[in-house]
């Protein structure tokens, strides 16, 4: 057993897996999304040598009850290639000891040092209650419910928005929280973009960066619903709602500045971050679509 690998897996347990066990009564689609993502990190961690395969099997035993109750992974929360990997895990009692490990070489030298940072970015997103609420609502609300919330979101006062952002753990599931969650998701998308740009800049010749994006980026893809017609439409609309909320505030503080300055900048940056998210996180889905 290696001390550092044990430490890493124990911390991963504390941060990502143990909270899921505590939450295990809620087996809705979002719970399954979180669970499968965490299993995906475990799997990739073992594959790259970041976690110990024997210890991962011990953890897997502990999770078996939750895994059984979550059932087989399915879109839109989990796409290829992760769902295939998870199905493989389900078929074995010691899946990680029997799984393939990444060979020593260029790809491993590239991926292994990046793994803890990629996981950190994902941990932050996973622990953000407002972002989680937004993902939940945009995936799960039926049209009737969503339309009611849209009306509420249209009329949000920026002070309420600020309150939600200030106390995310106390935020109720309501319109202001969803809009605050959207803004938080944009920040997480920007953090992820920054990570993948940095990763690309240090990828030497011979590294399959596309495969890296498909496997590592694909783990968190489900947080930002850009693919399903309904959820993508909802996501796009949040941009308008953000502008509605910001406009009075900006007019009040910057009366001499044309509204279009903010609007154009906002649209441009959101489009760019969405485009990069698609490139880094959704390439596997886009390829198979």
């Amino acid at each position: 057993m290696n001390h550092l690998r044990s430490l890493r897996l124990a911390q991963f347990w504390n941060l990502r897996l143990y909270p899921l066990l505590q939450d295990s009564r809620k087996r809705d689609a979002i719970f399954r999304g979180r669970f499968f993502e965490a299993i995906g990190w475990l799997n990739e961690g073992v594959f790259s040598g970041f976690f110990d395969s024997r210890e991962a099997d011990i953890v897997w035993v502990r999770l078996s009850g939750v895994a059984a109750s979550c059932g087989e992974p399915s879109p839109p929360f989990i796409a290829e290639p992760l769902s295939t990997e998870i199905r493989k895990l389900y078929r074995s009692k010691e899946p990680f000891r029997q799984s393939l490990q990444m060979q020593e070489g260029t790809q491993k030298r590239f991926e292994l040092p990046l793994f803890p940072y990629a996981l950190l970015v994902s941990n932050r997103m996973s622990a953000d209650p407002l972002a989680g609420m937004f993902t939940y609502a945009i995936h799960s609300f039926d049209n009737k419910k969503w339309n009611i919330w849209e009306k509420e979101i249209e009329a949000i006062d920026h002070k309420t928005l600020a309150e939600r952002l200030g106390a995310p753990h106390q935020a109720p599931l309501d319109g202001p929280s969803l809009l605050a969650g959207y803004l938080r998701v944009l920040e997480h998308m920007a953090a992820s973009r920054s990570f993948f740009r940095q990763a690309r800049s240090r990828s030497p010749r011979g590294v399959d960066f596309e495969s890296y994006c498909q496997r590592i980026g694909g783990l968190t893809a489900w947080h930002v619903p850009l693919q399903g017609d309904q959820s993508a439409r909802r996501f796009a609309k949040m941009q308008d709602f953000s502008e509605f909320a910001m406009r009075p505030l900006l007019k009040e503080q910057f009366p001499e500045v044309e509204w279009s300055v903010w609007q154009e900048s906002f649209s441009h940056h959101v489009a760019a971050v969405v485009s990069d998210w698609e490139a880094h996180h959704l390439s596997a889905q886009l390829q198979s679509a």
Partner: protein, 303 residues
Amino acid sequence: VTASKQFDLEDFGHHYHYFEQFEGSFALLSSLETVETAIVFVHGFGGDALGTWDEFQMMVDDTDWISYFSGSDLFFFQYSSVWERIQSSTDRLLTFLDKVIFQPDISNFTVPIDVVRADEPVQADQVEAVNTISALPSERQYRQVFLVGHSEGGVVIRNGIKDKLSGNSPILKCQLVLFAPAIGGYAPAGFLGTLANWPFLGTILDAVLQAAPAYQDLQDNDLLKEIRRKTERKDREATKAKDKSKPALAAYIVWGRKDRVVKPKKYDQDSEGFEDRNHVGVCKPTASYFSPLTRLSERVRPK
């Protein structure tokens, strides 16, 4: 479990450790046994322990920088920057420094490992820590501590120093590197002040700030004035007494030339430099902007 040799697993320098007692804060701990330098990063208004320092964490172990930072532990402190008063955030920082840096409480560095080492099935509510391992390869006693702040983080650090001026606190021996500190006040008020420090929305807001140059009238408030007055006075006393034991009284400050959020207003004893960056970008190293790493490394390991 003693494990120093077992840390030598890969050829990259630091490993991550998350603090349970200080939610959101984390550290990049050196794998070396002898580490004499701690660098504590304190984010700004609306920022967080990751986003504010974006890419710092990745770059310190790059070939070009590893020799400067391999002998340092890096701590990324998280606090509720906007919604708590400065005094409350200061109290959190001082507690963090005491329990993690100055007189490390080992419980902040230990992690229970039963879950990965025992085969018996355990229910969620039965996970009791029996065996723990330390994230530190060896006991630490830092010879030099750097406090690195951005925006409001600079105010929180200086307020902490102000609160300890009359004693002999180890914080007075720390060295300060501040990026765009808000020690002269903020430009955008309230909610916009928060967004101005968010990596993504801050960049967008920058376009508005750029279009509103008249908005540069910053307001000093009483707290900021008090921190400055007391710190400068203490520094004058120390200078007069030829007392060089309190380096924390003076800061090395890096301002962004395109910063529209804070005014470049330093204390008398501070030294300063400028970078062609805006408020959110000034402290973030990138593949084409090494300055935050360079400026910090020059102080951590002077040539």
